[in-house]
C-alpha cells in the first residue's frame, strides 16, 4: 500500500493506483483468513485493541459505513463514527479543522467518505493517521473495488482473461473507476457500456473498451451493473428511465446462463436491473455485501498492523486467525 507524506511511517489507501497486483492479492488473502473469523461464534480478534478508528462520512451510506464500523470492531478497535448531518460540519467547520480536531484524539486510522474528489488525499496531508478512502466524489471507491475483486476471485479462482462488462452511469460512478482499474490490474478485460451521455469522454485511458450498446453483452463472463440515479433524468442525461431500461436494463432476456451478475447496491429494481435478474442464482450481490466486512478488516489490518504500540499483538492475532 502507498507510502504517505511521512515516508515509511504512515500508509494510506486513497486509490486503487496505490496497489499493485501483489498488493491487492495480499489484502484479499488476508480477507479470506478473516472470513474464517466471521464464521465463529465470537467474531472478534484483538489485532487493533486499544487503537481508534474514526469513520467520517460526509455522504449518506448504509453498507459502506456499517461494514467499516463492523470491520474495525471485529479487529477490537475503538470506533468513532461521525456523520456530517450530526457533527459541527453543519455549523460550517471546514474539512481541515474537522480533521485537525479529530487528529487530536490520536486515531490510528481515519476512514472518510466525501462528495468531493481528492478529499481523502487532502485528509492524508493533514493527519498522522492512516487514511482510507471510502468514496471521494465520483473519483474512487477503492474498498468497493477490492471487495468486488474478492467476490469474483472466490467464484472464478482468478480474473485473468475474464471479460467484465460494466453497464450504466459510468460518468457519475466512483465504483466504476475503481473497478475498471482493479479488474484490469487483476488481468480481466474490461468493457464499459451505457448511454453515450453517461460515458465520460476519455474513459478508455483507464484501460477499458467502450461498447455503445448491449448487443454484444453475451461475450461477457461478468456483468457489473451500476446504479442509475433518478436525478440523471432531470439533468437531461437520459430522456426517461423507461427508455434507459429499454436500452440498458440487465434482465433475464439479456443475461446469459453462464454470466455472473454484480451490483454495488442499492439496486433500483426495475430500472438498471429486473427483479428476475436480481433474484437469479447468478447474482453475487449478497456475496458482495458479505465480503465488505472482511475486505475492510483486511485493509485496516494491512494499514495498521505492525505499526504503533500494538504491532506485536496484531501479529499474534493474525497467527491465531490463521490457526483457527
Amino acid at each position: 500500500m502507498t507510502v504517505g507524506d511521512h515516508a515509511g511511517t504512515t500508509r494510506h489507501l486513497l486509490s486503487i493506483d496505490d496497489l499493485d497486483r501483489a498488493g491487492i492479492e495480499r489484502i484479499l488473502d488476508r480477507a479470506a483468513s478473516f472470513a474464517e473469523v466471521a464464521g465463529r461464534e465470537i467474531k472478534k480478534v484483538p489485532a487493533l485493541r486499544g487503537r481508534t478508528v474514526v469513520n467520517l462520512f460526509y455522504e449518506a451510506s448504509t453498507r459502506t459505513s456499517s461494514s467499516f464500523e463492523l470491520a474495525a470492531k471485529r479487529l477490537s478497535a475503538d470506533v468513532v463514527s461521525i456523520r456530517a448531518a450530526t457533527s459541527s460540519v453543519t455549523k460550517g467547520e471546514s474539512l481541515k479543522d474537522t480533521i485537525q480536531t479529530l487528529t487530536a484524539y490520536d486515531p490510528a486510522a481515519i476512514v472518510i467518505r466525501s462528495p468531493h474528489a481528492g478529499a481523502a488525499q487532502l485528509v492524508a496531508r493533514w493527519t498522522d493517521a492512516a487514511v482510507v478512502n471510502a468514496g471521494d466524489g465520483k473519483h474512487e471507491h477503492p474498498t468497493q473495488a477490492l471487495l468486488d475483486v474478492y467476490t469474483l476471485r472466490r467464484r472464478l479462482g482468478a480474473l485473468d482473461g475474464a471479460r467484465v462488462w460494466i453497464v450504466g452511469d459510468v460518468l457519475h460512478s466512483r465504483v466504476a473507476r475503481s473497478d475498471i482499474l482493479a479488474f484490469a490490474r487483476m488481468g480481466a478485460e474490461v468493457t464499459v457500456s451505457g448511454p453515450p451521455t453517461l460515458i465520460p469522454r476519455g474513459i478508455e485511458a483507464l484501460g477499458c473498451k467502450v461498447a455503445p450498446t448491449l448487443d454484444r453483452l453475451a461475450e461477457a463472463d461478468v456483468v457489473y451493473v451500476l446504479r442509475m440515479q433518478h436525478e440523471r433524468m432531470q439533468e437531461a442525461y437520459v430522456p426517461s428511465l423507461r427508455e434507459y431500461a429499454a436500452c440498458f436494463q440487465v434482465n433475464a432476456a439479456r443475461l446469459q446462463p453462464h454470466q455472473l451478475l454484480m451490483h454495488p447496491g442499492p439496486v433500483n429494481r426495475g430500472v438498471e436491473l429486473s427483479a428476475d435478474a436480481i433474484d437469479s442464482p447468478q447474482a453475487l450481490i449478497a456475496q458482495q455485501v458479505e465480503a465488505g466486512v472482511v475486505v475492510r478488516m483486511a485493509v485496516l489490518y494491512e494499514l495498521l498492523a505492525g505499526t504503533g504500540a500494538t504491532g506485536a499483538a496484531a501479529e499474534g492475532a493474525i497467527e491465531t486467525v490463521a490457526a483457527a
Binding site: 481528492g118 474512487e140 478508455e204 483507464l206
Partner: protein, 447 residues
C-alpha cells in the same frame, strides 16, 4: 486623448545610470550590452557599455551580467478591490506586479460590488493614486453587475478613465447583448475584453474535459465551450466592425478560430497566460486546487497550439490572469475550490525557464509579448528609447529562486508554480519613471 487611464502613487522620478546590462527591446532594435541613463524619470541617453559618463546625483546600477528589458505590461489581473481585500489590495497587487517586473497592469471588474459605474471607478482611481505602486488601469463591466442583461454607461465610464470593458469571469452569454456593446463601442471606444465560455457546455465543470477528468471523475469543461464563443464573437465583431480582445485563450480550436478571423481582417486579438503555456491537465492528477483555474489547463496539443500562436503572432500578448485567493479558500477539495491562480511574480521567470532556456521561444519574442498588452488596449507601449518615460525591468537571468520559499508580495499564495526553482530574478523595476522594486540582498544571495 487627454483622459488619463492609468493611475498610481508616483515614486520620486528616478535618476539612474544602468551600466553595461544586456539591453533587449525588439521594438527599438536593441539586443546588446549598453548603458541606459535615466534622468528625471525619463530615458535620457543610451550608450555603448561603459561609454556614458556618470552624471552628478544619479545612482549607478551595475548591470554587467544582467538583462535590461522594457517593463512588462499585464492587461489582465484581478486586484479584488473593492470587496475582497482579504485576497488582494491595490497595494499588494501592485507590489506583486513590481516584483514581477511589471510597469503597468489592468484590473478586472469582478469585484464586490462589480465595477460598473463611474462613481465607483472614480473611487478606485483615487485609491490607486494613494496605494498603487505601479500604474493601474481599470476595465469596468460590459453589463451591469456582470449579469448580461443591460449595458453599463460605457461613455461615462470611458470619460472617467475606463481602459475598456469586460465581463471577465463570465462570458457575455447573449450574442445580442454583445452586439449592442459593439455598436456602443463606436460612440465611446475602448476594447471589449471577452472571457469566452458557453455555460451550457461548461456546466459545472471544474477542469478540462478529457482523459484526466475521466480518470478523476470530475466534471469537464470541453474546449468547444471556449472556441465556439470565440468564433461567434469574432463574427459579431467583424459584422459590427468593432474590436474585441479574447482573454486567456486555452485551446487549439480557439487559436484556429482567432487566426481565421484575423486573416479575414476582423479587429480581433488574443492573449495567453504563462500557466496555459507551460502546464497541462496532467498537473490536475495531483488534485491540488492550485491547478484549478478558468479556463482550465488543457492538453499538450493545446499547449503547443498556444506556443505556436504566440510565436506567429496570432496570440499577441501574454497576460497572467493573476487571480489571488486566500489560503483557506483554496485549502479545500478541488471541486470546492475557487477558480484562479496568482501569476504576477512568476510570469517572466516561468516563461524564461520553461520556454526560452529550452529553446522553444526566443528571448526577444517573449519580451515583446510581455509588453504588447498595452498597445492592444490603446495604452503606450513600454519602450527603451530616448525620451520615453522610464519603464524598465532589470533581471539576473543566471540566478534562480524557489517560488514561495520567501513568501510573496501578493497577499495570496495560490501559485501553481509554488516550489518550482525558476531562473530569472527581478533585481530592479522602474515604472512610470520611478523605482518601484528592488530585490533585497537575501534574494541576491540565493543566486
Amino acid at each position: 486623448m487627454s483622459v488619463r487611464r492609468l493611475f498610481h502613487a508616483p515614486a520620486p522620478p528616478a535618476e539612474l545610470l544602468v551600466r553595461e546590462a544586456h539591453v533587449v527591446d525588439p521594438r527599438s532594435g536593441l539586443d546588446a550590452p549598453g548603458d541606459v541613463l535615466v534622468r528625471d524619470g525619463a530615458i535620457a541617453e543610451l550608450g555603448a557599455p561603459g561609454a556614458l559618463p556618470v552624471p552628478g546625483g544619479a545612482e549607478i546600477v551595475e548591470g554587467a551580467g544582467l538583462h535590461l528589458f522594457p517593463g512588462f505590461f499585464d492587461p489582465h489581473v484581478h486586484l479584488r478591490t473593492p470587496g475582497q481585500e482579504h485576497k488582494e489590495t491595490l497595494a499588494t497587487g501592485t507590489a506583486a506586479a513590481a516584483a514581477g517586473g511589471y510597469c503597468g497592469i489592468v484590473a478586472m471588474p469582478n469585484t464586490a460590488p462589480v465595477l460598473d459605474s463611474a462613481p465607483l471607478l472614480g473611487a478606485l482611481r483615487e485609491q490607486a493614486e494613494r496605494d498603487a505602486r505601479v500604474p493601474v488601469g481599470f476595465m469596468p463591466a460590459i453589463t451591469r453587475g456582470l449579469a448580461g442583461d443591460e449595458l453599463t454607461e460605457m461613455a461615462e465610464l470611458r470619460d472617467a478613465g475606463a481602459v475598456g470593458f469586460t465581463d471577465d469571469g463570465r462570458p457575455v452569454v447573449a450574442a445580442g447583448m454583445l452586439r449592442r456593446a459593439l455598436q456602443y463601442q463606436r460612440l465611446c471606444g475602448g476594447v471589449l475584453g471577452l472571457h469566452e465560455e458557453d455555460p451550457s457546455l461548461s456546466g459545472h465543470g471544474v477542469m478540462h474535459e478529457g482523459a484526466v477528468s475521466a480518470r478523476l471523475g470530475m466534471a469537464g469543461i470541453p474546449s468547444v465551450s471556449e472556441s465556439t464563443m470565440v468564433a461567434r464573437d469574432a463574427a459579431l465583431a467583424a459584422y459590427e466592425e468593432g474590436r474585441v480582445h479574447f482573454q486567456h485563450l486555452s485551446c487549439v480550436e480557439s487559436v484556429e478560430a482567432l487566426a481565421a478571423w484575423k486573416a479575414a481582417g476582423a479587429q480581433v486579438s488574443g492573449e495567453a497566460s504563462p500557466h496555459h503555456l507551460t502546464l497541462t491537465d496532467e498537473a490536475v492528477r495531483s488534485l491540488d486546487s492550485r491547478f484549478k483555474m478558468n479556463p482550465p489547463l488543457r492538453t499538450e496539443a493545446d499547449r503547443q497550439a498556444l506556443i505556436a500562436g504566440l510565436r506567429d503572432g496570432t496570440i499577441a500578448c501574454i497576460a497572467t490572469d493573476h487571480a489571488p485567493h486566500a489560503r483557506h479558500e483554496k485549502e479545500v477539495p478541488f471541486e470546492e475550490a475557487p477558480m484562479g491562480v496568482t501569476g504576477l511574480e512568476t510570469a517572466f521567470p516561468v516563461l524564461y525557464t520553461d520556454l526560452v532556456l529550452p529553446g522553444v521561444l526566443p528571448l526577444g519574442l517573449v519580451v515583446e509579448r510581455m509588453t504588447a498588452g498595452a498597445a492592444l488596449l490603446d495604452l503606450a507601449t513600454p519602450r527603451i528609447a530616448v525620451g520615453e518615460p522610464a519603464n524598465l525591468a532589470l533581471l539576473d537571468l543566471a540566478a534562480s529562486w524557489e517560488v514561495g520559499a520567501r513568501g510573496y508580495a501578493s497577499k495570496s499564495a495560490n501559485s501553481c508554480f509554488e516550489g518550482r526553482t525558476l531562473r530569472g530574478v527581478v533585481r530592479l523595476t522602474v515604472a512610470a519613471g520611478g523605482v518601484v522594486h528592488r530585490a533585497d540582498a537575501a534574494v541576491e544571495a540565493l543566486a
